[in-house]
């Protein structure tokens, strides 16, 4: 297997799926001539041409809605948001059109579309450019929400998302584009949506982590191993539909769970997972479920404050030690 960056893995997925199906087109700000604000779409304009790879004006509501309309009549758009922060302008079309079209048309109009781009924190880009919005989109029936944490997952899940017949919110992480990992080279390599992955096996505590919290959780698990605590790291990969069964299986084995996320805690995905665990595996718990979330504040600019706002290895280690009653 080749070792490539997440950026390259996403690029491969886009290229392969666009070559596979000519109804797939890619549209967004700076995706074509500029080769992508984060170079995820590098080379695609040259290879696939301006009909398939389209630079848009800065008009998120407009081109998101255009994508949904095109999907109503058989195309399979990939709509790139330069960052998911800008998708906020397009939420009317994502939520009111894409998510509900199949239902309110009585099953007549499916919307096979992918909205993708980076989300979450970046490098000191302050409040309006550092938001984890997965809980917004995961709230809505009709949407699927995917968050990869490795280059292989990124490629396999993006290919599945493009082939899927429903609207998929595919949230990449700006700080992970350069992360490297092994990626299978087979053209038909895909990873199904709705399937969690156990990133590390363990016996004493479960850490549920997604996106950029997965490598952080793995580092925490290594540190905890040194301290005699064996952690299992479960990556749901798909937030909706959520593979709660895999999480529950792990919790039933370890009886302790920490959920790590960089999003705000209030009404967040960790809160949802925690509730599922309480409802369905309460008797297996030896300690209350513990969340490690991003600070409940708009993201600050100053480097030291930004670091305080994002969960790190130390906070996850401390949380696991707390649920393990290790101190």
């Amino acid at each position: 297997m080749a070792v490539i960056t997440m950026r390259e893995a996403l690029n491969q997925a886009l290229r392969e799926e666009m070559l596979r199906d000519e109804n797939v087109f890619l549209m967004g700000e700076e995706v074509a001539e500029y080769q992508g604000a984060y170079k995820v779409t590098k080379g695609l304009l040259e290879e696939l041409g301006p009909k398939r790879v389209i630079d848009t004006p800065i008009t998120e509501l407009g081109f998101a809605g255009l994508g949904v309309g095109a999907a109503m009549v058989g195309l399979r758009p990939i709509i790139e948001f330069m960052t998911f922060n800008f998708s906020i302008l397009a939420t009317d079309q994502i939520v009111n059109s894409a998510a509900k079209m199949l239902y309110m048309s009585g099953g007549q109009f499916k919307i096979p579309i992918v909205f993708r781009g980076p989300g979450g924190s970046a490098f000191q880009v302050s409040s309006q450019h550092s938001q984890a919005l997965e809980s917004w989109y995961a709230y809505f029936p009709g949407l699927k929400v995917v968050m990869p944490s490795t280059p292989a997952d990124a490629k396999g899940l993006l290919k599945s998302s493009i082939r899927d017949d429903d609207p998929v919110i595919f949230i990449e992480q700006e700080r992970m584009y350069g992360n490297k990992g092994e990626v299978p080279e087979a053209e038909d390599f895909t990873i199904p949506l709705g399937v969690a992955d156990i990133k590390r096996e363990g016996t004493d505590a479960t850490i549920v982590a997604r996106s950029i919290m997965v490598p952080v959780a793995l580092k925490a698990a290594e540190a905890l191993e040194q301290q005699g605590i064996s952690c299992e790291v479960v990556d749901p990969r798909t937030i909706r539909p959520l593979d709660i069964d895999t999480i529950l299986e792990s919790v039933k084995k370890t009886n302790r769970v920490v959920i790590a996320e960089e999003s705000h805690p209030f009404c967040g995905v960790a809160g949802e997972i925690s509730t599922e665990i309480s409802e369905r595996a309460f008797d297996y718990l030896d300690a209350p479920v513990k969340r490690v979330s991003g600070a409940d504040v708009p993201m600050p600019y100053a480097k030291n404050l930004e670091q305080l706002a994002i969960p790190d290895v130390e906070r996850i280690v401390a949380a696991v030690r707390e649920v393990a009653y290790a101190d």
Partner: protein, 381 residues
């Protein structure tokens, strides 16, 4: 008085725009406050009669029949709503019939139509049966959206009716995307996108017109200017009222159209369709019309005077058209009575059909959420 679009077109012709310049059909438009003078009515009538010449007799009668069908269907909807048979919101199209019927008579069956929540008229004119629409209003399983959409969300894939959309202006980017797909696939299908004048203040309108002209998309934007966004008059909501002229901001071809004359709407739409079909060019039509009923069934309409409504009713598009047809000997009272009788039967049938149809089964609550429902947790091999 408004500037005409001809003046605007002269300005835009000096730009780099190489498309067909804006045309004008500044005739018969309701461009003065009521009352409409008898002289003006005569002019309006003469203009409609001039338009009769180019259209064959069967088509003229069919246009009349469709408008009357919408009127009677809507009257029956109001009745059913009052009886509690229809829930939620119910926005009637009475007064605006000439817009849907005129515009849709200018397109092919395989062309696309999207509209707002005031969608019964377009749905009927596009060919969804009165039965399927009434059943949808009644929330029945036999409705055109299986009872899941209701009055505001009529859909029918069979006739390329792509919905009633209930966020003001939300259908405008969608229609732009449907037109984008036609060009992408290389077909010559065009898309008609209807919206009220209040939607013109939304960003979705401006973003869509910009993209449509930038990328030359075969979308025809039909603004039904009925002069009220719910209870707020145009003059209280829009700084510059000449909506057709707003097309010039994006170099779109645009026209003012008399929305009370079904043939004026038809002709303007035909011109727009030709541009769209041949050259993938978008058009903005501002069709001036008036709704005779409230915004929805729950609107008492206290923001308008009875006198204002009555003056516009002098220009009732159905009365105007039937009297033109009669005076030209195209139709007589006997024929009108015959059409009226058939329509009454059709509408009565739709109510019986809707009444007798089953409610959606409880299992329908959880269907149609995903086209590809994923059972989470199936582990990878």
């Amino acid at each position: 008085m408004a500037k005409t679009t001809q003046q605007m077109s002269k300005q835009s012709a000096t730009s780099t725009n190489n498309m067909n310049a804006t045309e004008s059909s500044q005739t018969g438009v309701i461009d003065e406050p009521p009352p409409i003078s008898p002289e003006k009515l005569k002019v309006i009538k003469k203009e409609q009669k001039n338009r009769l010449d180019g259209v064959d007799r069967a088509t003229l009668v069919e246009l009349f029949r469709q408008m009357l069908l919408i009127r009677r269907f809507e009257e029956k909807s109001a009745e059913a709503y009052s009886m509690g048979k229809i829930g939620g919101f119910c926005h009637l199209y009475i007064g605006q019939e000439a817009v849907a019927v005129g515009a849709l008579s200018a397109i092919r069956k395989d062309d696309y139509v999207l509209t707002s929540y005031r969608d019964h008229g377009q749905a009927l004119a596009k060919g969804i049966s009165a039965d399927a629409i009434m059943a949808e209003l009644f929330g029945k399983a036999t409705g055109c959206s299986k009872g899941k959409g209701g009055s505001m969300h009529l859909f029918d894939r069979e006739v390329n009716f792509l919905g009633g959309h209930a966020i003001v202006g939300g259908q405008i980017p969608l229609a732009t995307g449907v037109a984008f797909a036609s060009k992408y696939k290389g077909t010559d299908q065009v898309t008609l996108c209807f919206f009220g004048e209040a939607a013109v203040n939304q960003g979705a309108f401006h973003e869509s017109l910009n993209m449509a002209q930038l990328w030359k998309l075969p979308c025809i934007y039909i603004c039904e200017n009925n002069q009220y966004g719910m209870g707020t008059s145009l003059s209280r909501a829009m700084s510059f009222h000449e909506i057709a002229e707003k097309g010039a901001a994006y170099e779109l071809a645009s026209e003012f159209v008399d929305g009370m004359d079904v043939l004026a709407v038809r002709e303007a739409t035909q011109r727009a369709v030709e541009r769209a079909r041949k050259d993938y060019l978008p058009t903005l039509l501002e069709v001036r019309t008036y709704r005779f009923m409230g915004h929805s069934m729950s609107d008492p309409g206290s923001y308008r005077t009875r006198a204002e409504i009555e003056k516009y009713q002098e220009r009732d598009p159905i009365k105007l058209f039937s009297s033109s047809l009669k005076e030209e000997g195209i139709i007589d009272d006997a024929k009108i009575a015959e059409i009226e009788k058939k329509i009454r039967e059709e509408v009565e049938h739709s109510v019986r059909f809707a009444d007798e149809s089953p409610l959606p089964g409880p299992d329908e609550l959880y269907t149609d959420i995903y086209a590809n429902p994923v059972q989470p947790g199936k582990r990878r091999e």
